[in-house]
């Protein structure tokens, strides 16, 4: 039996929602969350405010939905890369390159999620923290490679991820080009593995190439 065709209005709604989505990301990145109004978003797309309200509800709900979608995409890419490797170091390196390459391909979305989320209300700030805790969990798995996993506290993984997030934030806030984010990976990998390996092993990270399949 043939599938019923989607009514034209549903397609139009989907297209308008997509255009609203792009306008929200653009305007928040241009003006900040606080300075972006629903009216301005609607003006950019050429729709009435009730269209926005039907699609997203409120400005805050729109931000949170877009944040959730983008962070899920990033985490899926990162976890996929991590799970593709056998050893914890190779897995972490693959995840690091996957993250850096996602940032390079999605600079607007990176700014939206890393910088603008800080000023988009408490719920957005909490979602941002939850995202970071997913990364902290990945780094903290490095302890399983130790003879005594309890010898390195979880706070080390938290400090590593917090440090990398902060360094990314600083570069975004300074308007730096993110197109070469992966050039930072070797140094970040040195910092990330150093608590779990000796100095010579950590220094190897400074010259290891990216995994070929990421």
């Amino acid at each position: 039996m043939a599938r019923a065709e989607q009514p034209p209005s549903a397609e139009r709604d989907g297209e308008v929602t997509a255009r609203l989505r792009e306008a929200i990301i653009d305007l928040v990145c241009e003006r900040s969350y606080a300075q972006t109004s629903v009216v301005a978003i609607c003006d950019r797309v050429g729709v009435e405010v009730d269209v926005f309200t039907r699609a997203y509800g409120s400005k805050e709900q729109a931000f949170l939905r877009i944040y959730s979608e983008e962070s899920e995409r990033l985490l899926a890419a990162t976890r996929g890369a991590y799970d593709s490797e056998e050893t914890w170091r190779d897995a972490l390196r693959a995840a690091a390159y996957a993250t850096a390459r996602w940032i390079q391909r999605h600079p607007r979305e990176t700014r939206f999620c890393v910088l603008e989320a800080l000023s988009a209300g408490e719920a957005a700030r909490l979602e941002r923290e939850k995202t970071l805790w997913h990364f902290i969990d990945l780094v903290d798995r490095s302890r399983q490679g130790l003879d005594d996993p309890g010898s390195v506290p979880q706070s080390f993984a938290a400090a590593i991820v917090g440090a990398i997030a902060e360094m990314l934030l600083r570069r975004i806030a300074a308007g730096k080009d993110l197109s070469r984010a992966e050039s930072l990976v070797p140094e970040m990998m040195y910092i990330a593995v150093r608590p779990y390996v000796n100095k010579d092993e950590a220094e190897q990270e400074l010259s290891l190439p990216p995994p070929p399949h990421v």
């Binding site: 900040s32 606080a34 800080l118 000023s119 209300g121 408490e122 700030r125 923290e129 506290p153 706070s155 080390f156 938290a158 400090a159 590593i160 991820v161 917090g162 440090a163 990398i164 997030a165 902060e166 360094m167 934030l169 600083r170 806030a173 930072l184 140094e187 970040m188 040195y190 910092i191 150093r194 608590p195 220094e203 400074l206």
Partner: protein
């Protein structure tokens, strides 16, 4: 009877404070109240009305001293950071080497978290949510400790070959841990973090065991 000068009563109400003194008192009252309000409500959720109510002053008095909420926040931030710098510098042992001074500085920062968690929250939590200028001040604070951190390289064989961004990562990582401590509760018990922070900050240059020994001492 005529009393000596210092004991002679002044007529009530005749002693006038200078305008500058009155303004300074008002400014201090508003900043003290604002720090508490920003810490409890968050920068985004704080209004000028919240601040003037807590300070028991008027909106007019507020605008006589500050350009707006953001300006008030930045003054709060600067007051906290300059006092913290002064207090921490007073704790640093003068004749000690870099590891001992770094450990003392970390202890000082954790002490401030315990003793004044609201002020610590302004720096480590709210500044990043306070728009471009708040974030810029926070970044400047991080940058200001990097030269001191780089002092550790002289203790490490091959110190100059350590990654160029190591100190930036260290400062940012410690700031994140303090942020998490504050958002997940209060500053109570923060000093117990000292051995871990010492391992993170001092460990890369002198080894983790020595860093933890210093923290315990």
């Amino acid at each position: 009877m005529t009393l000596p000068g210092p004991l002679a009563k002044q007529p009530v109400g005749r002693t006038r404070l200078s305008r500058a003194t009155v303004e300074e008192h008002q400014r201090e009252r508003i900043l003290t109240a604002a720090i508490a309000v920003f810490a409890k409500r968050g920068f985004q959720q704080t209004s000028i009305d919240n601040i003037v109510a807590a300070a028991k002053t008027s909106v007019g008095s507020f605008y006589g001293l500050f350009k707006g909420k953001g300006d008030c926040f930045l003054h709060c931030y600067e007051r906290i950071v300059s006092r913290a710098r002064r207090d921490i510098e007073a704790l640093l042992p003068e004749d000690a080497g870099w590891p001992e001074r770094a450990s003392a500085a970390l202890g000082g920062i954790l002490g401030l978290l315990e003793e004044d968690p609201m002020a610590a929250r302004i720096v480590f939590v709210e500044a990043q949510t306070a728009g471009c200028e708040g974030l810029a001040r926070y970044e400047q604070t991080i940058d200001s400790v990097l030269p001191a951190l780089r002092g550790g390289r002289s203790l490490s064989a091959g110190g100059e070959s350590l990654p160029a961004n190591l100190e930036e990562a260290t400062a940012a990582g410690v700031a994140w841990l303090l942020h998490e401590r504050l958002v997940s509760g209060s500053g109570a018990g923060s000093r117990e973090l000292l051995p871990e922070l010492a391992a993170i900050v001092i460990g890369p240059y002198v080894g983790e065991a020595e860093a933890r020994r210093l923290a315990r001492s």
